[in-house]
Symmetry: C2
Subunit: 347 residues, 2 copies
DNA sequence: ATGAAAGCGCTAACAC
DNA sequence: GTGTTAGCGCTTTCAT
């Protein structure tokens, strides 16, 4: 696709050597005399030659391309994770292609897998953050080098995890320790029946003997949190809320504010992720910091280990750190609820 | 990389036909009798055969892969644009690979271009949002199918644009129309000497005969806006601020608040992009809505036109729409400035 | 150390 | 319609 179709044969001719010799200097697979090496390199530069990755893959049956399979690419955690994988891959000379799986529908999952495998990738990193990711992992042929990235440890596939269960438990316990009778929970769409964040929250409540309220479901849209905030405002028993992520927490706080409730004076709200805007919010969000880019980097490293034939139990776990800011406080008698202002039409 | 190395020859043998016939049903390049077609499809399914994209590209000299070249992948505008390109590409059966260019440094730009071109891509979409993007565009060989995505119209390369100059001018004029003597400007790192947003702002001020303050420079980090907000708070002549993007606007508002200034009562602040959190911020942000995903989709469509050999002047422009919310108001005598609280250490 | 020959898995002519 | 014959641009034996 570059200039004309400058091939390795052109380079060989120009340098006065054989084709395999050019290949040797290209790949460094065997020693070549300095003289020929220089000649080849000069010819390559003059001809502005670029080897064809396709021909290379075909002949060598090896590939320097990895695929990232994800249910989304632009939401905060996904985008950061992808950035981490790409960064680490690039540093090792790998190219990254990306496959999006829209749903856990069989056809869609099969389509995504086919599209990915057709590209002769060296390996695959799947973001197991949601149902599509889980489905892909389950349907992938067993002999493909793959690593999963997620929030909960699992058996089987090599994986890098951000242990959200422990962090959620810690965050919930912190709220309970402040004196709240219980902690309500607003969750984002879970990857399976229950996310680690929800499990951790439940575990903390159980351990403390606190009642376990029914979790409320938000979508990925921050504004869905706002509506839930309106609802939460009408329930005086709600004094602390643990949200599935910071963006939902911001929405919930906004909804609570619409209804005249202050955070943290009337209701404490904590998020998850430590989104870049969490520290700038009013009030600054207490949350758990997730190093998504780091997760991506660890994931790629693991993939490299798999590719290297490592036989170890491939696994890397890290625990998000709770960041204490100002959105959580001791419970106090709540202010009177006022009618939630409806969301402006053009908003 | 899939199962073993099931090839088209295995399929042919199993189906009792020749290799090209299998190829024909695979590509639909020629009619094949229904009987053989069925046999081939059955064999493909039984063998779980997946054609090798590498072999295909090599033999046909065509590719179903496009590359997105970008200076960043996770920031809001970038991530959304990438999402749009990927979505449109996937809908047409294309696979997307992504190349990140870290800087405008010659070596880095050359590395990115080489990595991209080596993959035998059908075409390239470059995000000309920053200096690295501009540099890549300039150094790309002239015969590569490419389209640029940006905020300012340019000559040369086919491109899809989001006309930020006009939108910035409109936003600034709106502020001036409210009665502000001038509008200060906080810009994000520009793609060249000056971004369209800055140009539009300047143009509006000139047209109105308003003084043109020196623009302030933020980084891409929202918190850099906060520090600028602190500085702005000490200058009583500042009554309206136009920020390069919403995240910086949020930081500026926060900084202003730290110093006891209210928005919009004391200072009006407007952003750019209509970030998903802009409507949830306090106060909700007046801004210009940028349809980045749409830009990405239009960009891919343009690339398809280029690939189709279209000889038209390939160009697609759209103008961001100003969204009026609550962060801008008429100027009023400002409240006394109080010492800006320093940013919390752990924040 | 270097060249000749033989493919990698597929598509593209070209016959029939 | 369908099979035969040639490659695509590289890497890989295998000689030398």
């Amino acid at each position: 696709m570059s200039s004309k179709a400058t091939t390795i044969a052109d380079v060989a001719a120009r340098a006065g050597v054989s084709v395999p010799t050019v290949s040797r200097v290209l790949t460094g697979s065997a020693r070549v005399s300095q003289a020929k090496k220089d000649a080849v390199e000069a010819a390559i530069a003059e001809l502005n030659f670029r080897p064809s990755a396709a021909a290379r893959m075909l002949a060598s049956r090896r590939s320097q391309v990895i695929a990232i399979v994800a249910g989304d690419t632009s939401r905060y955690g996904y985008a950061e994770t992808i950035r981490g994988v790409e960064e680490a891959a690039r540093a090792q000379g790998y190219t990254v292609m990306i496959t999006v799986v829209e749903s856990q529908d069989d056809d869609e999952v099969a389509r995504a897998i086919s599209a990915t495998l057709a590209q002769s990738v060296a390996g695959i990193v799947v973001l197991k953050f949601d149902a599509p990711g889980v489905a892909v992992l389950r349907q992938l042929p067993p002999d493909v080098p793959v690593v999963a990235l997620s929030g909960v440890r699992d058996v089987g596939t090599p994986q890098a995890v951000l242990d959200e269960t422990r962090a959620a438990e810690e965050l919930t316990s912190f709220l309970l320790g402040l004196g709240h009778a219980t902690v309500h929970h607003v969750r984002v769409p879970p990857s399976r029946r229950e996310d680690g964040r929800t499990t951790g929250w439940r575990r903390a409540l159980r351990k403390a003997g606190a009642p376990v309220p029914v979790p409320l479901d938000a979508t990925w849209e921050p504004r869905s949190g706002r509506e839930i905030g309106h609802a939460l405002a009408t329930d005086p028993s709600v004094t602390a809320v643990f949200c599935g992520n910071d963006e939902i927490a911001m929405g919930v706080i906004r909804g609570l504010n619409d209804a005249g409730q202050r955070v943290p004076e009337d209701v404490s709200v904590v998020g998850f992720d430590d989104h870049p805007l969490a520290e700038l919010w009013s009030p600054p969000l207490t949350t758990a910091r997730q190093d998504f880019a780091g997760l991506g980097r660890r994931g790629f490293q693991l993939l490299l280990d798999v590719l290297g034939g490592s036989t170890e139990r491939l696994y890397s776990s890290e625990r998000p750190e709770v960041v204490h800011r100002e959105s959580a406080a001791e419970p106090r008698p709540r202010a009177a609820v006022r009618e939630a202002r409806s969301v402006p039409a053009g908003a």
